[in-house]
């Protein structure tokens, strides 16, 4: 039967060439988009390494020098760090608040970030790359607020020593520095510095956003003089004050909550002027990715609807034109289902003919390095999944398009159909 079908397809190459060209272009684009969507979905579903549910960022500001309550610098007895810590304590007093932490350009979905050079000292350092890594500056409560745990899933807080200048590294960095060995208890140093910094815990891998993969990173835990240095350098109002609430709140609830504790939200010249949920901050960060995905899905829908129209139009006219042939088939004993199946196979065969050029196209793209493999390696699994998925999608659309013309053809009484012969 297949031979027969291909013969028919070849015989009708005039009309088929249009639909074939369309199928070919659409398959190429569809394959490419399906691949990108697969990579996006795969990345999206990896564990993030933290949890932002019920967390909010409080925005800090400094009082205007003419505002009521402004404390003149010469009258101030406390440092900016004292003010910041007191503000955190006052917020922690509220029943609704579970925990508060301060970070510098380091909260989840933060648009700013810091990088630092660092290298391992003890142990075998041969072949291990020192380099510049993403550093997150956080107060210890960060690990509670965002539920960042160690590799085994245990809380990091008890592992943090009270001594200053300790670091937590991510599992990716541990692997980079120490290979299969454990990084906990080892020491790091800044290149050219004598100071040894102990690694007190190893966190899970952390991803910057839902559409990025994790990268090696480390945490500087801000306590004591380390915190003071940071606050003095960046100023207290630049801190990201992050809170975890015990219950979910809408932005309106949150505004009302802040209104209810507003007298506790000012310490000297430092005050909280607003709040943003990390859910919203996350959305701001990933919206470009989401927009691109949605545009891709819309384009795919556009193409599939077109294929549907194209198939239905071409096959409808063709059934009218081939009534004789169909009548003959019925006359020699083809059942209705048989006719239906025959036409579907014809459509699918038309689609299958695009497979070879498509594979050439894909191989070409791979050899030209046009298919990104940084987030998901180019495995046979990926190529096969994408190819099968895009062919299933197209095949489904083609069968849907053929359904109406085929039904008409099959319902043709054989005698009438034969008259055309």
């Amino acid at each position: 039967m297949l031979k027969q079908i291909f013969k028919i397809i070849w015989k009708q190459r005039r009309t088929n060439s249009w639909i074939f060209a369309e199928l070919l272009i659409v398959m190429g684009v569809l394959w490419f988009m399906a691949d990108q969507l697969l990579v996006d979905t795969h990345t999206y579903n990896l564990p993030l390494g933290y949890d932002i549910q019920n967390t909010w960022r409080l925005k800090l500001g400094n009082l205007n020098s003419q505002a009521p309550g402004y404390v003149l610098p010469e009258e101030k007895t406390t440092s900016e760090t004292d003010d910041l810590l007191r503000l955190m304590d006052q917020i922690r007093l509220s029943e609704e608040v579970e925990e508060v932490c301060a970070t510098y350009f380091s909260c989840p979905y933060s648009f700013g970030n810091s990088w630092t050079s660092i290298e391992p000292i003890d142990g075998d350092t041969t072949g291990l790359s020192s380099g510049s890594f993403h550093v997150r500056r956080v107060t210890p409560e960060y690990f509670t607020v965002f539920r960042v745990n160690d590799k085994q899933g245990n809380s990091i807080i008890p592992q943090l020593s009270v001594t200053e200048g300790s670091m937590v590294i991510s599992a990716d960095l541990e692997k980079k520095f120490f290979g299969a060995q454990s990084g906990k208890g080892r020491k790091l140093r800044y290149p050219g510095s004598e100071e040894e910094i102990p690694v007190v815990a190893v966190s899970e891998p952390i991803r910057n956003s839902d559409y990025e993969i994790s990268e090696p990173c480390l945490y500087t835990v801000l306590v004591g003089s380390g915190l003071r240095e940071n606050v003095d350098y960046f100023s207290a109002s630049k801190a990201e004050l992050c809170v975890r609430l015990k219950q979910e709140m809408s932005p309106e609830d949150m505004n009302r909550f802040l209104e209810s504790i507003s007298e506790r939200l000012t310490v000297n010249n430092l005050y909280v002027y607003g709040a943003k949920s990390f859910k919203d901050q996350r959305y701001d960060m990933i919206k470009t990715y989401e927009r691109k995905s949605k545009i891709k899905v819309s384009l795919m829908a556009f193409m599939l609807i077109n294929v549907f129209f194209g198939i239905i139009g071409t096959f409808w006219l063709r059934t009218q034109y081939r009534r004789g042939e169909i009548g003959l088939r019925v006359a020699v004993g083809s059942s209705k289902g048989g006719i239906y199946r025959f036409m579907n196979i014809e459509g699918v065969c038309l689609l299958i003919t695009t497979l070879l050029p498509l594979l050439f196209f894909v191989v070409g793209m791979i050899s030209a390095d046009q298919i990104a493999s940084d987030r998901l390696s180019l495995s046979l699994w990926r190529l096969v999944t994408v190819t099968i998925a895009s062919y299933l999608l197209m095949g489904g659309m083609i069968c849907l398009g053929i359904w109406l013309p085929a039904r008409k053809a099959a319902s043709l009484p054989p005698a009438e159909a034969l008259r055309y012969e």
Binding site: R14, T15, W18, I19, A21, E22, I25, V26, V29, G61, L63, N64, S65, Q66, A67, P68, G69, P251, M254, N255, L258, E259, S262, Y273, G274, A275, E290, R291, K294, I295, S298, F302, M303, I305, N306, V307, F309, G310, I312, G313, T314, W316, L317, R318, Q320, Y321, L404
Partner: protein, 409 residues
Amino acid sequence: MLKESPLVSTISILGTALSIAAIMVVILIYQIQLAAYSPEIRRERMLYINATQSQAKDSNGMRNRGSMSTEVVKECFYALETPEAVTAIASDKRPISLPGKRLYKEYSIKSTDHYFWKVFDFHFLKGRAFSEADFQSGIRTAVINDRLAYELFETTDVVGQTVSLDFMHYTICGVVKEVSNAATDAYADIWLPYTTDENLLPVRHSEGIPGEFNVCILAKKKGDFEAIRNELERRKAQYNANKIEYEVGFLEGTLTRMDIAMGSTGFKRVKPSEFLTETGALLLFLLLVPALNLSGVAQSSVQRRRSEMGVRKAFGGTNRKLLFQILCENLVITCIGGIIGFAFSFLLLLACRSFLLPNEPMLTMDMLLQPATLLIALLFVLLMNISSAFFPAFRISRQPVVDSLKEIE
């Protein structure tokens, strides 16, 4: 003739409609960036500066990129003589409170000058804009939009009332009708004279060049752009000559509305050729895929009418006449599809604006319906017609009479 094969006609019409709708959505997205509508009604006469760099004069490479300070605004821009008006704008988001009550809901704020009201065209419901005197002496006055007025006071009759921003009190001097946030330069909930905010004063580092301001220049006429650019160069050179360690630069310089619509920013200019390649490819794709479709359908339907063509030819119809006849017949279908698609594009844009347009702007009829829109739509309908029907029609008109009559493919 459309009735002869209703299904095929429907499909051709729907296919065209889909294509035209998709193409028009792409066009409308650029139109919203480009066309003039209230309050940015003079966009074709405007120049924009939205990137500033302060760079150390010696070679240590210290530089800061962002926006400019009020000092640069004054020395380089207010001093310009060629333009009709120049306005400096700093944008922020902050909570607006009432004097006795701290509130935390954030609103969009623009700190600007009195020239702002000359450059943009707002509809005042109550009161007036803050005056030059208010601006010069840093009087805390504010213009708010009707939505903010309703949210705070439940009425728009609020001239003379007080709002509080960061514990500072501002007297409302005017209420304007809310504008679409697609007008990014003019849009805000509250407008203040920037002289009232000490946080906007020049910074201490980099000799006071970096700041929060971007500038919109309104030229007297479009032809003045070159003269304005030259004068700005002179002002800049003068300003830099007075600086010791740092100098100001505007990176990609003054942008026209067209540059912005093509995706340029002051930091990175998108060349027209890049824009045309990218958008052209997309439009071609949106046109080509349905055109292939329709070609297939057209091919099948002309084929059925081969004998008709043969008869026509036998009675003296020339190739050109037949070609023209098929194209005209097809044009009826493309036109109907075009009209449906055109209407559909508005719905599509409205439904998908959350991911098609940045900031999910409010859409108004005057930004969507411009005379050029109709012309562009018509152009694409014609393109669609030619690309879908030309080849099948050309081929059938060339077929020898005998073959046509014998129905040989």
